[in-house]
Amino acid sequence: MALSNRDRARLSLGLQAGIFIAVVAVLIAIIDWGAVQSSFFDLENISGMFPEVITVGLWNTIRYTFFGFLFGLIGGTLLALMRIASFPVYRWVAAVYIEFFRGIPAILVFIALGFGASLAFNLNLSTLQTASTALAIVGSAYIAETIRAGLQAVPKGQMEAARALGMPAWRAMVTIQIPQAFRIVLPPLTNEAILLTKDSSLIFVVGMAGSAAELTKIGRDGILQYGAGMTPLVVAGVCYLLITVPLSMLARRMEERSPGKSSRRRPKKKATESPVTAGVK
């Protein structure tokens, strides 16, 4: 007997629900929930981590990421401008920098900076300086490519109009092209901030004093302190989400109301070669 479309849709929905319920039932049956709870959700451990996980861990993660992103943004903008400069040496230097730091794991930069800066440059960097510099070095490589794409997404006519009005090239870049490019790249830049937030955890390889500990360090210390349970890592993970989920919601909202959406609409192509043909068509 042939099923109507509506029956078929209902059957499909019922099947999906049935499979879901079966999987959940199996999980409930085979997993030792007591063990899971004591390993990952130990309430005593959780309450023991407050308030330091917020006042020290979350706060330091935000600080390291903020400064890393800020300097990465400045460096990335400079690199993007070098990538499109007319002086070829700038283009090569920027291209090599970007390829290099996008191509190696971020953790190498943290190690090199954390242990190498004092040897090579006789610098004694604080944890904040090490973390934010390492994030800026890595982040600027990614941000540069994002911003370059944004600059090139601004229609060529914008620069031409600005130059035709008599703006010098740098003025047209600062007043016309860069502001429009930033609007285009705001959503991808927000995603970059999310990636840097997570990469800030890599500072643990360098080690740090308790007061400089960020979320991952706090989580690891918690494990050592409380024994076998993984609860401190779960708490740290949730704290990362406190940063990254609002950021990604922000990015999505900016994408929805991106100013380009209405203005990107292209003017019609030559509608009429002459007013005479318009009437005939």
Binding site: P155, A164, R171, T272, V280
Partner: protein, 255 residues
């Protein structure tokens, strides 16, 4: 007040201008003279080089050889101050090219403020005056995307005029417009011509050329084929290629 000191219209001399893209020579020795206050329309088929010629006049394109002079500026001289020169040459584009991140008013004030260092009040007074002349002072706070094509093009004209240019270049200013808004833009251009502005207009609007232009230059394949009074070139062309082009434009179905 500077708002009332209109610029003195400049003359244009183009001598033996050549421009190539690779092996493709798009301007093959063009010589055209435009007197101060004169309106010249460049007509011709797509690819005839008329837009390239126009863009050479303010050096958006660099010619390979030849000479251009606009008023006191030796446009093609290697040491010319390009920015100072362009401030005296207004340009209106086919695609308007308004700055979408700025309001209509800011579009008209940004260059006077940032480049001529006018203070905000002075720049806004002049911008509102120019917007009033194109009938759009009520839309000063809007963004370009909120305007129709015809309105955007009128703002683009006002924006160019806030710089007090001595010469206005129009690159197919009505080709991207809906037919019903073409008339508003052409009317403003006619007013500007009657006010004594020197204008070079690349256009397919034969009616406008006939009514407003002092002279019409017909170009084909990078050369000037025919030039003269609008009545003569459009009404009674002598060169076979001009006749052929105008027959296609004015009577596209070939009846």
């Amino acid at each position: 007040m500077s708002a009332d000191t209109a610029a003195i219209p400049a003359g244009v001399v183009i001598e033996n201008l050549r421009k190539s893209y690779g092996d493709n020579e798009v301007l093959k020795g063009i010589s055209v003279t435009v007197d101060p206050g004169e309106v010249v329309c460049l007509i011709g088929a797509s690819g005839s080089g008329k837009s390239t010629l126009l863009r050479c006049v303010n050096r958006l394109e660099d010619p390979n050889s030849g000479r251009i002079r606009v008023g006191e500026f030796e446009v093609t001289h290697p040491d010319v101050n390009l920015d100072a020169m362009r401030r005296k040459i207004g340009m209106v584009f086919q695609q308007f090219n308004l700055f979408p991140h700025l309001s209509v008013l800011e579009n008209c004030t940004i260059t006077p403020r940032r480049v001529l260092n006018q203070d905000r009040a002075e720049a806004e007074t002049e911008a509102l005056h120019q917007l009033q002349l194109v009938g759009l002072e009520d839309l000063a706070d809007r963004r370009p995307a909120q305007l129709s094509g015809g309105q955007q093009q009128r703002v683009a004209i006002a924006r160019a005029l806030t710089m007090k240019p001595s010469l206005m270049l129009f690159d197919e200013p009505t080709s991207a417009l809906d037919p019903e808004t073409v008339g508003d833009v052409l009317a403003i251009m006619r007013d500007l011509a009657q006010a004594g502005m020197t204008m070079i207009v690349v256009t397919h609007e034969m009616g406008f050329a006939r009514e407003v232009a002092d002279r019409v230059v017909f170009m084909d394949q990078g050369k000037v084929v025919e030039e003269g009074a609008a009545e003569q070139v459009i009404g009674a062309p002598t060169a076979p290629r001009t006749q052929d082009f105008l027959r296609r434009v004015l009577n596209p179905l070939g009846e």
